[in-house]
Structure formats: C-alpha cells, structure tokens
C-alpha cells in the first residue's frame, strides 16, 4: 500500500531545529490531521515532504521508497494556505492545472483532464480560461486542489487550506475535501491549527509542539481522552466549550 511514512525526520534552519525526530504514518486512503500552533514545525514537516525544505535526518518514504523530489512525476502534492498567492496571476486557471498534469498526453487529452478536474471540484469547466483574479478565495482554493489532483498523487498534503478563507466559504472547501477523500479514496495529511476543523475531516490526528509529535491516535479517541497535557491545553482553549467549565471571575 502507498503509505506516506515519516521516519525520525529532522529539519534544521541554521541553529534552530524546526522538526525534531518526527515519525508519522499517513495510511493509504486515510486523512491524518496534524494540529499545532505557530512555530510547532507542522508546515515545515509538510514542506520537507515535498522537497521544499531540506531534510537533515531521517527519511520520508512513499510506498516504501523515498519520495521523488526530481523529475516530472510527483506522487506527493501540496495545497497551500493562501489562495491569493498560490496561483500565477498571469496564467488561466486551466493552464495552471494543466501544468501539473504529468507530461506525455496529447493536447486534447490534457484539455479533457482539466475539464474533468474542474468538474470534480465543482467549478464550471467552460471557465478554464478565467484568470485567478476573477475567482473568489474559495474558488481559487478549489482550483489549487484540482491542480494538486492533476499530478495523480498518491497523497495530498493540505497546509492550513481554510484558514485564509472567509467563514462562509470554509464550509464548502471542507465538504469538498471530505467528498474527494470518500469518492477517490485519497490519502491526505491535513494540517491545521483548528481542532474543530481537524476533527471534522480527519480520522487520525497527531499533535505537534516544538518540532515533536506529543500525541497521536484516532481522532475521536485523542479528543475524548487526551493523554498529553498539551493536548488538554489545546482542547481547553477551543472557543465555545467553556460556558459550563469556566466560572466568571
């Protein structure tokens, strides 16, 4: 099976160790949530997986083999946080998606593939020629998802993909993530600082702090019976759960 495995991965920037001996598995067909606060190293871990950050120690494997970071076939794809900076403003959304399709197919096949992908993320294929500036933030994020899927990935890494969106749009993107996972059996590493969002999309969850994973397990279990103090602290900090527990001072 094409599991994505992080084995004792360490990433260093100068003297700071952003990721410190992290081991984590994203099983095929599952969505694993990775929660943590800013500076916990969760985004660095993701960037290391796709070759955007240098790995100082350990290894990252996909189906048992190292993740290729050269060449045109990239079985690991990534969706970024800011939909306003993740699409080239000068390219049509169709071109952006087509660029990620592995080479070797005819022009017509690529066009058909772009249309299929747009359809998949609930965008009108007829608008493949539109520029990103004509799209709302949520629509751009769907294009970014379609581009990631164009590479026919085994695993998709989603890095805070809803945190830059307005609340009314977030829901639609989260629904789409769940739908893609169910219909395509997509494996996903879903990174977020928002526990409620992770709870909604992920079957497994890992909690990261200061470059280390402090707790992991099935989402329902971790959230109901957290083992680690930090997980408890995070849970206690989720707004909207304290009407009963907190006495007004």
């Amino acid at each position: 099976m094409s599991d994505l495995r992080f084995e004792d991965v360490t990433v260093e920037y100068g003297a700071t160790r952003a990721v410190d001996g992290v081991s984590l598995t994203v099983p095929a067909g599952e969505v694993v949530g990775l929660v943590g606060e800013s500076g916990s190293g969760k985004s660095t871990l993701a960037r290391a997986a796709v070759g955007l950050a240098p790995v100082a120690g350990g290894r990252i494997t996909l189906a048992g083999a190292p993740v290729p970071s050269r060449g045109r076939h990239r079985p690991l794809q990534m969706v970024f946080q800011d939909p306003y900076s993740s699409l080239d403003p000068r390219m049509s959304i169709g071109e952006s998606i087509a660029e990620a399709i592995p080479p070797g197919s005819s022009r017509a096949a690529r066009k058909a593939e772009v249309e299929r992908l747009l359809e998949l993320v609930h965008l009108d294929p007829a608008r493949a020629g539109a520029r990103p500036s004509e799209l709302s933030g949520g629509q751009r994020q769907r294009v970014a998802l379609a581009r990631a899927l164009a590479g026919r990935p085994a695993v998709v890494i989603a890095d805070e993909i809803t945190s830059a969106l307005d609340v009314s749009i977030q829901g639609a993107v989260l629904n789409l993530v769940r739908e893609l996972q169910r219909e395509l059996g997509l494996s996903m590493l879903f990174i977020s600082h928002n526990l409620a969002v992770v709870r909604y999309v992920a079957t497994h969850v890992a909690v990261m702090r200061d470059g280390r994973i402090v707790e992991e397990g099935p989402t329902a279990e971790v959230l109901a019976r957290p083992d680690h103090d930090y997980t408890r602290e995070l849970l206690a900090a989720v707004p909207g759960r304290h009407h009963e527990t907190r006495s007004p001072r």
Binding site: S85, A236, V238, P239
Partner: protein, 642 residues
C-alpha cells in the same frame, strides 16, 4: 484592467504627456539629425570663431567657428546610441546576476547575492571610473564602463523582484508539480516581473545618458573628432565666459533628453502601479473631499444613564472613483454598563469600520455621520478639543487586531503606556511610568519593571496584546472596544487574552465591544451578538441563542458553516453560495438576497428594516425564522467575471 488602458494612463498626467512627447522628439532627432545637418555641423567658419549667438549661428560657434546649435542636434544620435548600448550591457549583465541566485540554488546563490551587495555599495560614478581606467579613455571604454557600473544595481533590482515572486506559493506549487527551475523562471517568474523591469530599463537609459555626459565632460568619454553632448559640454565650459551658449546648448540638450527618458519611465511606472528602485511610489489617487464633519447639535436628550454607548444611524462614507462608497449604512445599537456585545461579520461587512467610527478614529477621507453618537452621555460628534481628547483618552480603551504593528517599534513599552497618563492625567514622567508598570502587572505580565524597559519586538504576541489592554487601563475606561483582538494569536494564547478581558469586565463593570469574524469566540465571551452584513446589522440576539435561536438565514448559515467540537460528522457543513457584497456595489433590496435560500421577489426590491421584538431581539429579514434546509448539496459554482 486591460493592459492597453493602463498604458493610456501614462498620457493622462501633463507630466507624462510632456515626457512622452519629449522622448519621441529625442528619438526622432537621433535618427534624422545626422542625415540632415552633418554638413552644417562640420562646416568651419574661421572668420567667426567663438562668436556669441546670432541669426546665422543660434548658439554661436566654437573655437573652429563651427555652429554649436547644429553640432548639438547632430550629437543626439551618438549620445543616444552610446546610452542605449550601455543600458543594454547593464540590463543583460544585471539580469544574469539577478536571476543567478534563483537558478543556481541556495549555496551558490548566496555567493552571487553577497557579491551584488558589495558591488552596489559603491556609487555608480566610482565603478564607472574604475572600469574607465581598465578599458581606457574613449567611447568604447566608456560604454563598457557605464554599462558594467549599472549592472549591480540592475542585478539587485532583478533579484529583489525575483525574490518577491519566488516566495509566492505558486512557485512552490510548480516545483512540487515537478516543473524545472529554468522553466519556472521563464513561465512564472519573468512574465510577472517584466513590467517593472521594462520601466526601470527606460529610467536606466536616462541615467546612462546623463552618466555618459558626465564621463565625456570629464574628458574620459568620447574623444575628438567624434562628439556627443558631454564632449560638446567639455569643450564649451572652457569658453563659458566668451560664449555661454557653447556650454548651455549641449547642457540643455542632455538635460532635456535625460529628463525625458527618466520622466517617461516614471510616468509609465506610475500608470502601471510599478515601484521604481530608490524612488517610492506615490500614494494611490484618492479624490478627497475634505469637509469636516458638521457637528449638528443633537436636539434629542438622552434618558438612559445606564447606557455607556449609544449609537444611532451611524454611517461611514468614503469617496470612491464611481461616487461615494458607504461601507457602514445606518447602524443603531447601545451598550449598557458592564455588558459584552459581540459584532460578527465577514470581511467587508463593515464591522471594523463601525468600531473605528464609534471611537472617532476613521481618518480622512472617510466621513462619519450619525443621528446620535454618545459615550457616557457625552456627544462624540463635537470637535477634537483637549477636553474631548482627555475624556476619550481615559474612558475608552481600544485593542487592535495586530499586536505586532500596533506599538511604536522605536519606543520602549513603558513609555508608550506612560504617555497616556502624562497627557491626560497630569502625571509627571516618573509616576506615569510607575502606573504603567502597575498596569502591566494588572494584565498579568511577569517582571513588569523589566518588561517596561523593553521594546515591543522583545514581547511575544500574546504579551503585546495584553500590554495593549494594559494601555487601555491607564485611565479608568467604561468601554473597551476590541477589534479582532485574538485573530493573530495562537489558540492557547487567544484563550489567555479572552480570559483577561473577561476578568477586567467582571472586576470593574467595564463594557466590552468585541469585533470578530469568529462566531464561536464571540459566542463564548459576549452576552449579546450583533451580526453585520454589507454595512448593516441584520440580527441582534443573545449569545446563548446563537446556536439554536437565530432567525436570520445569514446568522444561521454562519453558525452552521463553521465546524465546532460538536458538529455532526456525518452531515456536510452548510455552505453559503456566492461571495460577500462589495461595499461599492450594494444591491437593491436585502443585500443578502442573492445568497439566501429563502429569498423571494420582495427581498430583491425592498430592504427589510431592523425590527425589535418583545424580548429586545432585533432582526432584519422578510422571512425571519422560516425553516431552511441549510444543507444544500454542493452546487457547481459559476465563475463570476469581475
């Protein structure tokens, strides 16, 4: 915007038009002048040496009796040619240097960057002299010298532009997709930096023209019998007392041509919104109407002494290109002593502007109007006199979203807090600082004495936000207005700040207006929640009723669209189709109608009023409380052209 139309902007300003015309004249002269007037320029008139201006010789003659006016015209070609040649060298070398860091990868790139940094530290004229020594005195040497001297600057510019694009996620996305570096450079990077590069090339050409004149003027550039403007100037300056025109004519020519290229480039830059090296873009055009708010004296008295804040029909207007834009359109609400009121809405709903308008912080050219705007019974619409400032400075506290940028980076924390006391409470510096330390302690900052002597950047985000609250507590506020106070903070830190606000409220009966996009945060902290959409309050209800008792379809969708820790995992989240309303294009009728599942014909024509029910809850909807199937199957969204 269509590119052509943006280019047309160049000709809008008189300066841009003049620069364009002048550039065209220079280029035309460069082509035709040598063809037409070379013979006139070379004709010697030995009977008329070093003569002043006359009918025959408009700018007089030189020491061989040659006509200076014609020589100046003919020199256009050589001057422009040499300047362009030098510019080409500078641009090509600069592009190579500037993109090297991107192509070579991290380690080699760093070496190139360091070399550029060292080279740009030396002024161009020094580099030009250095190269002039190596390449020798003469036109060719000068072209190489000026070209190479310009390369580091252009390299730095290219590098900055490339770095700006490189940090964008679409470059990372292309790399993840397996696109090679060279291909990324040509497909994604260069097209996105082409405009500023072209503009700066034009400006460099102007610079090269002037620099060339400088070198020739020093006698290091063009040598006789060739002549460019600089050479003519070099010859002319020695006879400036005999015939001033011999220096002034070529001087004026080089000046006009240099200005033409430079100003043409600047005008294009301005029209395209491109920034220029070392020169900063001017403020975007804002047609400002600068009427001061006419403070109409409110005739109505106020009864409720309970009220801390009383706002009626608040409007905020900005001048826009297509007429006035009104992001806040008639907001009425009141806040009682000790009450916590939340204001929720998406970006562009007018919630933050409402807060700024209430606290009298909407700057020009915005305009605030209200039928009533009172804090503790004092009319805030009156002018900005000392008494008013003192009153607001001590009874209203503000907390802003970004604690990173909301403190003065060049002043110590303690001093920034103490300032409130020295200005409004008549304290001397020492007791004001003592009060500041005391307030820092009150907001649970450890070691407040030491912290008071630190700069804002030495504080963590959460500490800064608490310090901001402490600053508000320097006086004795009756109201704290907090605009997204926790959005920039991590969840655990967010909780500390919210706890702090709650305890201050409980201790001193301070009222709180909390503005947030996050329904859950507001629901937790506040007694009452006002939901804003397109500049109006659409619903006002007790926070406890948010989850189940909301009646406006927007409020209900907002609550259902955000997952919380109790969301049903088997059902999809509610979605709101379409996008929020642009304040400059508020539709007729109910602004939410286009996105609303309950919308009827009436909703698109008639705007519902905010109606108060018996329990004091308010809602503005023709279909308030009607049943909706919130879970709509994800529709395929049409991409709207904008």
């Amino acid at each position: 915007m269509v590119p052509m139309r943006r280019w047309m902007n160049v000709f809008r300003s008189p300066l841009g038009l003049a620069a364009t015309a002048l550039t065209a004249v220079v280029l035309v002269l460069a082509v035709v002048a040598p063809i037409l007037w070379t013979d006139d320029a070379d004709a010697t008139d030995t009977s008329n040496i070093l003569a002043g201006p006359s009918g025959d010789h408009w700018a007089g003659t030189d020491n061989l009796g040659r006509d200076i006016f014609f020589r100046t015209l003919v020199a256009t070609r050589l001057s422009v040619e040499l300047a362009l040649a030098a510019t080409v060298i500078a641009v090509v070398a600069g592009l190579l240097l500037g993109t090297a860091a991107f192509l070579l990868g991290r380690r080699l790139g760093r070496v190139v960057t360091a070399s550029i940094n060292i080279a740009v530290a030396f002024p161009g004229i020094l580099l030009a002299l250095f190269f002039a020594v190596i390449f020798g005195v003469g036109a060719t040497g000068a072209v190489l010298a000026i070209g190479l001297a310009g390369a580091p600057g252009f390299g730095r510019l290219t590098q900055t532009l490339v770095a700006g694009i490189e940090s964008r996620d679409y470059i990372a996305a292309a790399r993840v997709a397996g696109v090679g570096r060279v291909r990324i450079l040509f497909r994604h990077v260069l097209p996105n930096i082409a405009e500023p590069l072209v503009v700066n090339t034009t400006i460099s050409a102007g610079g090269a023209l002037l620099a060339f004149a400088g070198l020739s003027f020093l006698g290091l550039g063009v040598q006789q019998p060739q002549y460019d403007w600089g050479r003519l100037l070099f010859d002319g300056i020695s006879s400036i007392y005999v015939n001033p025109a011999s220096a002034l004519a070529p001087g004026t020519a080089v000046l006009l041509a240099g200005l033409a290229f430079n100003l043409f480039g600047e005008s294009v830059a301005k029209a395209l919104g491109v920034s220029v090296v070392g020169r900063l873009p001017v403020l975007p055009a804002m047609a400002a109407t600068l009427d001061e708010d006419e403070a109409q004296v409110a005739a109505t008295g106020h009864a409720a002494g309970e009220l801390v804040l009383d706002v009626r029909d608040l409007e905020v207007t900005f001048p826009g290109p297509g007429g006035p834009v009104r992001p806040v359109r008639g907001v009425t609400f009141a806040v009682r002593r000790g009450e916590a009121v939340g204001v929720v809405g998406e970006s562009g709903s007018g919630k933050s502007l409402t807060a700024l308008a209430v606290s009298r912080l909407v700057g020009d050219p915005g305009r605030v109007d209200a039928a009533r705007l009172e804090l503790l019974g004092t009319d805030l619409r009156a002018g900005d006199d000392k008494a008013q400032r003192q009153f607001l400075g001590t009874s209203l506290a503000m907390v802003f979203q970004d604690p990173m940028t909301s403190f003065n980076p060049t002043q110590r924390m303690g001093r920034q807090l103490a300032e409130v006391a020295t200005h409004h409470q008549g304290m001397d510096r020492r007791s004001a600082l003592a009060r500041a330390v005391d307030r820092l302690r009150a907001v649970r900052i450890t070691e407040p004495e030491r912290r008071a002597h630190q700069y804002p950047h030495e504080f963590s985000g959460g500490m800064r936000q608490r310090a901001m609250i402490g600053m508000g507590l320097m006086g004795s506020p009756a109201l704290i207005i907090a605009d997204e106070p926790t959005t920039a903070l991590d969840v655990t830190v967010q909780q500390q700040v919210l706890d702090l606000l709650a305890s201050i409220r409980a201790a001193d009966d301070v009222a709180l207006v909390l503005i947030s996009h996050d329904v859950t945060v507001v629901g937790e902290v506040c007694d009452r929640v006002m939901v804003m959409y397109a500049g109006r309050i659409v619903e006002d209800l007790p926070a406890a009723d948010l989850a189940t008792g909301a009646r406006h379809p927007y409020t209900r969708a907002l609550v259902a669209a955000v997952p919380d820790m109790d969301t049903d995992l088997d059902a999809p989240l509610a979605t709101i189709p379409g996008r929020p309303v642009d304040p400059s294009e508020v539709p007729a009728g109910c602004a939410y109608a286009a996105r609303c599942p309950l919308a009827s014909a009436r909703c698109t024509t008639e705007e519902p009023a905010l109606v108060t029910d018996g329990a004091g809850r308010r809602v503005a909807c023709w279909h308030a409380g009607e049943a909706i199937d919130l879970v709509v199957p994800a529709p395929r969204e049409e991409v709207e052209a904008s």
